[in-house]
Amino acid sequence: MTNSQSTTQSSTPATPVASGEPERIRKVLVPQQDRPAPASALTACVAYGWRALLKIKHLPEQLIDVTIFPVMMTLMFTFIFGGAIGGSVDNYVQFLIPGIFVQTLIMITMYTGLTLNRDFSKGVFDRFRSLPVWRPAQLVGALLGDQIRYLLAGTIILTVGFFLGFRPEGGLTGVLAAFALLLVFSFSLSWVWTAVSLAVRTEQAAMGVSMFVMMPLVFASNIFVDPSTMPTWLQRAVEVNPVSIVVTTIREMMAGTYSLSSLGLVALCCGVLIVIFGPVSMFMYNRKS
């Protein structure tokens, strides 16, 4: 066991090839008629999801965005604005945590689009598209794999919130239910960024467009402040902002109340996002060259 580490670290190039290589290759080829039926759409999505998880494993540094950033946001907003906006830090935490929870996750959904945009410029994209599987599986799989990132970021926010004194009345059940709903909304929303990433050429452009859409949605919402202090026209805008609708529902669930109308509205938002941006993304993906 003493030298076992050195074998994996070895940087010697591939073994020099003996003249027997053609023979060895001939042996591992399977006859054309023995090939299995290609993966079903579902299996393909799972395989691509596995790929997304491997990427997280191999490039853990990309998790910095989803770990450090949420902690920073929570602490900053709590202590800088807590006194001013909520009266006291303790009161404000109860109001802010569900909001920042939503904000963080939907901000992270943008990275899904950016990652895909990077993927499309690589040679492996051609390989994937030459395979006999349901093409959009690459998109769906990537979005499914990203659920892990959302899960991680969300857990971090809630943990930090707990230490800051966040004690939702709905208890663990309410929090978990809210979490599940937010994951569904994030999945739906990420189709928007998928479409954006397919429509623009570069990663920078994708980032620019995403930010442009995201910023008003996040700030013209009820995440940080109660809209009753806003001018009437802005209140209207905040009310119809889907982000506000989601935040309201998440706050309700964490507080232990489940309102059918709120849930219905969120479901409607999710449905609309998927129905519009899903097919648009898939169409553009198929036409992408």
Binding site: E21, L29, P36, P38, L54, V124, L131, R287
Partner: protein, 326 residues
């Protein structure tokens, strides 16, 4: 297996990017079995043709059938029979060698465990076992190429596209890749290969299409292409440097096309038939001009290319800017 269906059949294939026609009316007819080479300089349209045939890019005009299936209406059927090894490594750089193989294996329909087994077997056959758990971005160019080809063999394709399989790798790796390609053909796979190297096409391909500026400028076996260019060349080196002028004058008088070479004792004679060779040598002997050595050969593909396209086989110095990555 039905080998009478052509592997590839295209008529007037066109693809435009903006105003420039990358492919401008390509007709190809490639039968199954063997290696078909598409030869052309940078920007000739090789990759674009291949991507249309592999159903990655929709042609703007023209007809194309791959293994009997229409590229417009039956892309799925085509994808079930082909494998593509792109010009730029078609692998996930962040994943390890074996992870790449497992991913492809699963997409091609194997269960995880079998996909891993298949992957390990292939890596071993390609001499990549030691690198199996290393991310592909740490592979050398030669190793990447091998892994890339291995990835196309998880299931055996009926038609395999290889886009410039040996560009940028050293001569030893290049010879290995050639051996691999020949092995695949023996296994019944048809290979469509693009290359910028005349030697590669000459060594590997059974037939060659020479393309330039998006059109096929010549097609045939390497031998036919050489014949199309016309003559072979007889190179004669004289024993006595001072006799060369006399020899050139003598042969010209007989109507033989002759050019003196940079070497002051050498000259080259363009010949149509091998009989011309003996005739030339006899004439020189009659005039008591001593020959030190001579060689006779068919023209190289370099010369073929020069004759067919009017340019040497060097990259085009196009004024049109290269737009974007493919």
């Amino acid at each position: 297996m039905t080998t009478d269906i052509p592997a590839v059949e295209t008529q007037g294939l066109v693809k435009k990017f903006g105003d420039t026609a990358a492919v401008d009316g390509v007709d190809l007819s490639i039968s199954q079995g063997g290696i078909y080479g598409v030869l052309g300089p940078n920007g000739a349209g090789k990759t674009t043709v291949m991507r249309m045939l592999a159903t990655l890019l929709r042609p703007d005009a023209g007809e194309a059938k791959v293994l009997g299936h229409d590229v417009y209406t039956e892309p799925q059927a085509i994808r079930e029979k082909i494998a593509l090894t792109g010009q730029f490594a078609s692998l996930d750089e962040d994943l390890t060698g074996i992870e790449n193989m497992i991913l492809l294996g699963r997409l091609l329909g194997y269960k995880h465990r079998i996909a891993r087994k298949r992957g390990m077997d292939l890596l071993e056959a390609f001499g990549l076992t030691k690198a199996a758990n290393r991310p592909v971005k740490k592979y050398s160019g030669g190793m990447r190429r091998r892994l890339d080809i291995a990835g196309s063999l998880i299931v055996t394709p009926q038609l395999m596209f290889l886009d410039e399989p040996t560009t940028g790798i050293d001569p030893r790796s290049r010879n290995q890749v050639w051996d691999i390609i020949r092995t695949l053909v023996d296994g019944g796979t048809t290979i469509l290969l693009t290359t910028q190297y005349l030697e590669e096409a000459d060594q590997l391909a059974d037939r060659i299409a020479v393309i330039d500026h998006g059109t096929v400028v010549a097609e045939g076996t390497p031998g036919q292409l050489k014949a199309e260019v016309g003559s072979g060349a007889l190179r004669v080196r004289l024993h006595d440097v001072s006799a060369r002028d006399q020899a050139v004058e003598l042969l010209r008088r007989e109507g033989t096309p002759v050019t003196p070479e940079a070497d002051p004792a050498a000259l080259t004679v363009q010949v149509q038939h091998s009989a011309d060779v003996t005739h030339t040598l006899e004439s020189l002997a009659h005039a008591s001009i001593e020959v030190a050595s001579f060689s006779y050969g068919q023209p190289s593909l370099d010369e073929v290319f020069l004759t067919l396209t009017g340019t040497a086989s060097t990259p085009h110095s196009d004024s049109a800017p290269e737009v974007g990555a493919p």
